[in-house]
């Protein structure tokens, strides 16, 4: 075991993993975390805690992850390279692991001009690949980045990353995942999938390179709440493609939210059958109450309780 997290145990036993997502409050109101935690407890194996997603200022991922542990859930602490240089990154990793955080997702982060602090100076001292390399060095070499300096204590982290099979250039997307695997990533969560054909094509390229044997791939899904949301995401979110037939299905449905849940369950069932997909990452944005229904309908409930 590299970190001994619940997520690592599930995946290394060959079980199909389920992760969820939680956005910390835009302030210090812990009741927001508690409300979302209550909806996800026992429903997923681990919960991603976002790091100022879309560059909107929120409670730090480390602090929110710490509260989740106290509430009996396992966090996947997200960390972006947007806001921290390598000094802050390594210092935060010391703090996070001391607080009991065992999973970390290495991200570049959404550009700060999408958020509410557009005048900020962005950092990008490292990119996400270099961050993976940094964490792996801290864990396996037990030294700081680029140095011989020994770390006091042990950094036990199960290292994750994101990948977007729907970004361009498409032919490079599998190569990029291979680079992340070479840098030392243990698991990968993908951008939300609607274009199943493209995802399958990407998975084939991933398998051809043998990358699915080097890291665990969790397929990302986001249930669509309404036709408006489907249209908005298809039009405005770069790197997300939603086929017209899916938009039509939600738009024409009598109860679009119900249809969105049904679609999400069908997607999970289809993803489960793809060789190399070891789990699913459910990103129910401000719709956490639906996650338990989705996992039940998809036959992913109850979650295994491992020692």
């Amino acid at each position: 075991m590299k970190a001994g997290s619940n997520l690592e145990k599930i995946l290394s036993k060959g079980l199909f993993a389920v992760t969820g997502e939680l956005g910390p409050p835009k302030g210090n109101d812990i009741s927001v975390i508690k409300r979302k935690a209550d909806l996800l407890r026992g429903v997923v194996d681990a919960v991603n805690v976002t790091d100022n997603q879309t560059a909107i200022v929120r409670m730090s991922s480390i602090a929110a992850s710490h509260f989740l542990i106290q509430m009996g859930l396992e966090p996947v602490m997200q960390m972006t390279t947007r806001d921290r240089n390598r000094i802050a990154i390594q210092s935060d990793i010391f703090g996070a692991t001391a607080l009991g955080i065992k999973n970390m997702l290495c991200l570049t982060g959404d550009h700060h001009t999408f958020g509410n602090q557009v005048d900020a100076k962005n950092v990008h001292d490292l990119d996400s690949l270099q961050l993976i390399d940094c964490v792996r060095t801290m864990r396996d070499q037990k030294t700081l980045m680029g140095g011989e300096e020994k770390i006091e204590g042990e950094i036990k982290l199960f290292i994750g990353a994101a990948e977007n099979p729907f970004g361009d250039p498409f032919e490079f997307r599998a190569i990029r995942l291979a680079k992340k695997a070479a840098a030392g990533v243990d698991f990968v969560q993908t951008q939300c999938i609607y274009d199943m054909n493209r995802f399958k094509e990407w998975m084939k390229m991933v398998r051809d390179r043998g990358v699915h044997e080097k890291c665990h791939i969790l397929a990302g899904v986001t249930p669509l709440k309404s036709g408006g949301m489907a249209r908005y995401m298809a039009k405005n979110v770069s790197g997300i493609t939603i086929p017209d037939e899916i938009i039509d299905r939600i738009v024409k449905a009598k109860k679009p939210a119900e249809e969105g849940i049904r679609l999400c369950v069908e997607q999970i069932q289809e993803l489960k059958e793809i060789d190399g997909v070891h789990g699913v990452h459910i990103m129910a944005i401000e719709w956490e109450q639906m996650v338990s229904r989705i996992t039940e309908m998809a036959g992913l409930s109850p979650r295994p309780a491992l020692e």
Partner: protein, 223 residues
């Protein structure tokens, strides 16, 4: 070359409120090429300043000059006599030229007349784009001759982020994704293997300006 844009006239007028006689100094190099501070712009800018001050009944005498370059001591020193006869200088040179003039004339206030924006190339008449951030250790060999430090909004070293869509950057739709350009170029050159290599973290603290202003000393050129 260095690219610059003129500051708003109101900002300059505010700097010049206490003065009645100034030197407006252009530069014959980069800012001439990008039409921000050459002889022609000096002439236009001088007229605008004079008219604006006349309008409020507080006339301003503006001496015009455009040395070959402001960033070389010998050209800056050519301004000595003219600087001695004015209360302040407005420089339409880049930030380098402004500071060369500042260094040589310790007793005269010197104000910037342009915003120095970037090191870039000419794309079309009146269109310039950033190409280099003078990072101190050129990576163009690894990236097919296209710079991800200057041209990727996240300065990524190992391929495009998830926001690269149909060749464009998600941050500004008119901007080409630098990593799409790199991919296309390396593919055309049969060098895609270069994109499979992990480029390690850059030594910003040693190579770039993060350890303060950089300095080049060439012993062979010293006299």
């Amino acid at each position: 070359m260095i690219k610059a844009e003129q500051k708003p006239i109101d900002e300059i007028l505010k700097y010049l409120e206490p003065y009645n006689k100034i030197l407006l100094a252009g530069c014959g190099a980069c800012v001439t090429v990008c039409h921000a501070g050459g002889e022609k712009e000096v002439s236009l800018f001088a007229s605008t300043l004079r008219m604006a001050r006349q309008k409020i009944g507080k006339s301003l005498e503006v001496i015009e000059t455009t040395p070959t370059r402001q960033c070389e001591p010998e050209f800056a020193l050519e301004l000595s006599e003219r600087v001695a006869n004015v209360e302040a200088v407005v420089s339409l040179s880049c930030g380098v030229g402004v500071q060369t003039v500042v260094r040589h004339f310790p007793k005269t206030p010197v104000f910037p007349g342009v915003n120095t924006t970037f090191l870039g190339e000419t794309m079309d008449h009146g269109v310039w784009e950033e190409r280099c951030q003078a990072c101190g250790n050129c990576v163009l060999e690894k990236t097919g001759g296209i710079c991800p430090i200057a041209r990727c909004a996240k300065q990524l070293f190992n391929g495009p982020c998830g926001g690269s869509s149909k060749g464009k950057c998600e941050i500004k739709r008119e901007t080409d994704c630098a990593w799409q350009l790199i991919y296309d170029r390396l593919k055309a050159l049969g060098q895609l293997h270069k994109m499979e290599e992990i480029i390690p973290a850059k030594r910003w603290g040693v190579e770039s300006r993060d350890s303060g202003p950089r300095r080049i000393v060439r012993e062979d050129l010293k006299v």
